[in-house]
């Protein structure tokens, strides 16, 4: 065994043989949150930027995290020199050109961009988009992976939303944006084509879910796929016809648009999307659940899905926090 060099940002730390990486970082007074030191609490999660971390250091992590080379510092005995980061790349990996803007409903615009370089992403992940002056917001990728360098997003106009108002009003086809590395764990994971899927989204939370659904169907998913998309009124829904036609094409895809307020509508379910969903589907043991949209809906649904029998490791959530939508 030899001493390994570990690079974190500008610092290089030496990790002694038989020493967990966490200890060597703490020894150098590098602040790493940590708890149990035995792989259970997962608070010392870091990411390897060059190559796979040791397999035992990924023990107990979700598949998606493993694939993205996350690992636990307390379980990591480096077998070679490593370059690591706190959680994700902060760097912007590429630039993109705006290709199209199209209103999907009175408040949500579809923005299509083409990146200079291909990105390795999964439908349902998000990227940070950065304007020239540095203003940054996170948006979920709404298309599946077959589109190569084209990414589409659903940008909801928020009153007072600096980025969204600018994107709606001033951003032009041909303009340039910086694009971060794709992030997030709320995406379709192939490999269990028989598993039933429940997807619940509010507002532009449909974007990642639509990407996940098209990827699943494209992948030949055979289990039932139930989508509940909700909004307070009719104006907030979109892609109703698209989802209906998808439902006609695929016998295993079920779509329920939901309206929580205003006039009852004959072909929309009445109520909040998650309430309607959990009334319809009461036994979710073995199901995979995707939740995207309003943070309150996501938190409530996580609990309800778990109580209805879904395993926590099968619940994928992406809460759209307005105030903190620019990821720290």
């Amino acid at each position: 065994m030899t001493v390994r060099k570990i690079k974190l940002d500008e610092q290089t730390v030496l990790c002694q043989p038989d020493e967990p990486l966490l200890d060597s970082l703490l020894r150098e007074n590098i602040e790493i949150s940590h708890g149990c030191r035995q792989g259970a609490c997962q608070s010392c999660m870091l990411r390897s930027l060059k190559g796979k971390p040791p397999a035992e250091a990924q023990h107990g992590l979700k598949e998606g995290l493993k694939r993205q080379n996350y690992f636990l510092a307390c379980l990591c005995y480096p077998q070679q020199d490593m370059e690591i980061a706190y959680s994700h790349h902060r760097d912007y990996v590429t630039y993109a050109t705006v290709k199209a803007k199209q209103m999907l409903n009175p408040e949500i615009m579809q923005l299509v961009i083409e990146t200079d370089e291909g990105l390795d992403y999964y439908a349902g992940q998000f990227v940070n988009l950065k304007r020239e002056d540095g203003l940054t917001r996170s948006y979920s990728i709404a298309n599946h992976r077959m589109h190569g360098r084209q990414l589409s997003f659903h940008v909801r106009r928020l009153s007072g939303g600096q980025f969204s108002e600018w994107a709606h009003q001033e951003l032009q086809v041909g303009d340039r944006l910086a694009v971060s590395e794709p992030q997030g764990l709320c995406y379709y994971q192939p490999g269990q084509p028989e598993q039933n899927l429940l997807l619940i989204g509010t507002g532009s939370g449909l974007a990642p879910l639509a990407g996940i659904i098209s990827e699943a169907l494209h992948d030949g998913h055979r289990g039932d796929i139930h989508l509940y998309h909700g909004s307070s009124d009719l104006n907030g829904l979109y892609w109703v016809e698209e989802m209906r036609s998808l439902q006609q094409r695929y016998a295993n895809f079920h779509y329920t648009p939901c309206i929580s307020r205003g006039e009852p509508n004959p072909d929309k379910a009445r109520g909040r999307a998650h309430e309607v969903a959990f009334k319809d589907l009461t036994a979710l043991k073995g199901w995979r659940v995707y939740l995207c949209g309003h943070p309150d809906m996501v938190a409530a649904s996580k609990r309800q899905a778990f109580m209805a029998g879904a395993s926590l490791s099968d619940i994928y959530a992406d809460a759209f926090h307005v105030a903190s939508s620019s990821v720290d």
Binding site: C36, Q42, F306
Partner: protein, 122 residues
């Protein structure tokens, strides 16, 4: 060499099987579920797993001070023996549901019981 309690129970696989059942029972119990409102479920599940690992006699470095600190806020909100008892009930119930032998369940309960004073901040 005799197997440790943790090994006899089935090690980490047993903890994984227990954690969902245990957490679901706790959240379903109106006597105690208010203490779990507004917590991040994944973080909470990770903590439950660490706790169960400890109670199963598995590798851990739980200290009494950690237990005190972690529950101090809940004690202020009224956490008392009746709530601790309810959690103990669910711990045994979970292990019974998993068909683990009674003598092992007793050993797990004894370890969990040993945290009572720290959890309740006494």
């Amino acid at each position: 060499m005799t197997e440790s309690l943790y090994e006899q129970l089935g090690g980490e696989a047993a903890v994984n099987a227990a954690v969902d059942i245990f957490y679901r029972r706790v959240l379903n119990d109106y006597r105690i579920n208010r203490f779990f409102d507004n917590v991040d479920m994944e973080e909470q599940a990770a903590k439950q797993k660490a706790f169960l690992t400890m109670a199963f006699g598995g590798p851990n470095n739980y200290t009494g001070a950690d237990m005190r600190q972690a529950h101090a806020k809940l004690v202020k909100k009224g956490l008392d023996d009746s709530h601790f008892d309810a959690v103990m009930e669910h711990l045994s119930g979970t292990l019974e549901e998993l068909n683990l032998p009674q003598d092992l369940i007793g050993q797990v309960a004894a370890i969990a019981e040993s945290t009572r004073e720290d959890v309740l901040g006494r």
